[in-house]
Each structure stands twice: as C-alpha cells, then as structure tokens.
Symmetry: C2
Subunit: 218 residues, 2 copies
C-alpha cells in the first residue's frame, strides 16, 4: 500500500523540526510540498533536508477551501508514489492546526492511500517560548482562533492566540483591551524576518499575513 506521512516542520526555524520528522525525510525518496503563487515556505524552511529528494509541488492557493484542489492533489500523490512507497508531505507548523494537510488527508483516505501524521511545533507555542509568557499555568484555559475572536469566551480563559491576523486587527485588539488582556504581536515567528511588535499603532500598520497576536490576562 502507498503511504503519505504528513509532517509538521514547525513555524520557521529549520531546527524546530522533530527528530522523527527529520529522520523520515532523510529516509524517503519523494517529498510533496504545498505551494501558493509559485512559492513554498515549507519547502524553503526545510530546504537543507530535502534538496537531494524528488520534490513534487502541489498547488494550493492560500486559504483555499476548494475540494477539487485537494482531490487533484491526492490523485497526484497516488500517481507519483510507487507501490509500497512512503512519501512525505511538509506542512508549516502542525499538520492538524489550520493546515492544508487535514483536507488532503481526507481525500487520500478516500482513494485508499494510507496516511500517518507527525505533529509539529505551532507558531503560538514558539511565540510563547520567544516571549517567555506562559500559555497556561495550572487550572488555566487557552483559546486558539484564526481571523477573529468570540468576545464572550474571553472571560473564561487566561490566554488567547489569534493566528493570521490581517483583517479585523483593530476589532481583535479592542476586544482584548476591553477584557483586560495584555497582548503582543509576533510576525513570522522564528522565521528569518521575525518581528515582535508591542505598540498598537505598529500592529495596525503591519500587513503581514503570517502574524499572530498572543494575549494573556494582565
């Protein structure tokens, strides 16, 4: 049976990949990487590990929900892998957290390609480590969202992280301020062009898609 292993390569620092994922990449022949607009950030980050591999780019427009794209990608994977071959699919961060891989996995299962998943370091775990701010202490709760937050949840949690804050930034910050949260903006966490912003006006001015707000009850 053919098998695809979805690998989380972490948020950007090439050494934030797990040993398990690293070894599997080294031992396999075929690496599938997602690309959007001719670029593959996952491929770029893992470049050192995959440069001598057969690399197959699968095109997923950013934020695509289009089922057809996943069906097609699953077919390409099925056609590319030889019988009993195990290939890997690289995904930024963690494969089960806001990832293209979760959609792709479903389509692969439907056409009887076996799947397995190796978890990866998320951008928000990396951001908390970078900032030295706990996500959760004992008995605390954490809320993870993308794009926007539901204000009524804020009363019940100690910390919140909003990924991909591009639009709605002002609305998010207003909600956090109203509910007594201190917040920090981290752009491209652990990537080469990482930046940490503390001032509201700087956050509002920034346009980077790969940014997050990490907030904790002050």
């Amino acid at each position: 049976m053919k098998k695809l292993v979805g690998i989380g390569i972490g948020p950007g620092d090439m050494e934030l990949i797990t040993l398990k994922a690293y070894k599997l990449i080294k031992s396999c022949e075929t690496v599938f990487i997602p690309e959007s607009k001719g670029e593959s950030l996952a491929g770029k980050i893992a470049n050192e590990y995959i440069k001598d591999k057969k690399i197959i780019e699968l095109s997923f427009p950013m934020g695509a929900k289009n089922k057809e794209r996943y069906v097609e990608a699953a077919q390409i994977i099925n056609q590319t892998l030889k019988d009993n071959e195990t290939g890997v699919f690289l995904t930024l961060g963690d494969p089960m957290t806001y990832s293209t891989y979760a959609y792709l996995m479903k389509e692969l299962i439907d056409i009887h390609v076996q799947t397995e998943t190796i978890p990866g370091i998320t951008s928000y775990n990396a951001a908390a480590a970078l900032l030295g701010i706990p996500i959760t202490l004992k008995d605390e709760s954490f809320y993870l969202a993308d794009g926007n937050i539901d204000e009524k949840l804020l009363n019940s949690v100690a910390s919140v992280c909003i990924l991909k804050v591009c639009k709605n930034k002002e609305e998010i910050i207003d909600k956090l301020e109203r509910n007594g949260f201190a917040y920090t903006y981290v752009k491209r966490c652990t990537q080469e062009d990482q930046a940490v912003l503390y001032k509201k006006e700087e956050m509002l001015a920034d346009k980077d898609y790969m940014s997050l707000i990490f907030a904790r009850r002050a």
Copy 2:
C-alpha cells in the same frame, strides 16, 4: 552570565524532540530534570540523550504550586551552573503549557539567571496526529483546559482538549455529549504504554493521571 534553557522534550516518544533541543542537550554539560516521588518521566524519555551528562534532579511534587519549591530549585540551578555556563531544564510536552518550568523561569529571572525557552510538541498535538482528527480547520476555534471545562465555551469552538482528566471525568463527558461533541480518550500519548479508549465506561474506569480527552464537534 549563567543561563538556563527550558526545553520541551515532547509528549513521550523520544524522537518527538526538536533538533534544536537535541543539539543543545548534546552540547551542554548540566541537565536539570524535574522529579516527583522519586521518578522523572522527562528524564526517562530523554535518557538516551542525557546519560553522559551531569544530571541534577529537582524535586517538584506533582501539581505543586508551592512558591518555595521554585525559589529553592532556582537557587540550586544558580549554585550548580558555573559562570557563563548554559544548562538545560527538561520538561514534558511544551514548557509554556501547564509546566513547572513556567513557575521556575520566573524565579530564575528574579535572581538574574538568564532564561531561554525551546518549545515542545504538546500531548494534544500528538493526540490529534495519532487520531487523524484536526484540531482546527480554517475559521475554527480550539479550547484547551486542564481538569475541567467551562460548558458555555463549547458552543463557540470546533474542538476541545482537556488534559489531566482524572477527577471530573464523568462531568466532562456529560458536557461534551450535551453539546454534540465526539470524544476520544488518549492515555500516555506516544509513551510506551499508550492507549486509546473510545468507550465511555472504559474511560470512566481508567485512573491514569497522564490522560487527555480530545473532542471535536460531531
């Protein structure tokens, strides 16, 4: 200056450590490990990587919130490290997620020991990968808790993970069922004695402290 790096070694599989953490352990001399009741799970998991190191056990009774223990542990670290030495402190999962390290870090900063943190794979990221169930798809939210959950949050999230479900298990399951969540129980995720339970009565009968319930809207 003396420096302590808090390292997340992941949930149990010794290869779910990051390359960054692995290399740092290899390059340093002194490894601090938390122990409770004479046992150190972190030390056991990382045993292969640390066996030729100077290992200092720091005693933290499970779930201890006692500030004195952290003050004392910080002093031991300060006294053990030589000037300009970098030591590591191993923590199960991720250092910023329900970890002793977050308390310890605060005390180290107070006595001017420099700290740095390397994120780790959490048990819930590993559980989602194991089960092949997404934590979050696009536009979805996730809620992380330990011990118990606030039922009014369940309406607003797609998935929830409750760590350390020992007491309150029936209450948690009732809340999940009432709110239309499908749930799975994972005991000692990726550790040697890992078990996945699907039946409510088996979950209720289990007494393991290192277990989680991962639930997703059905």
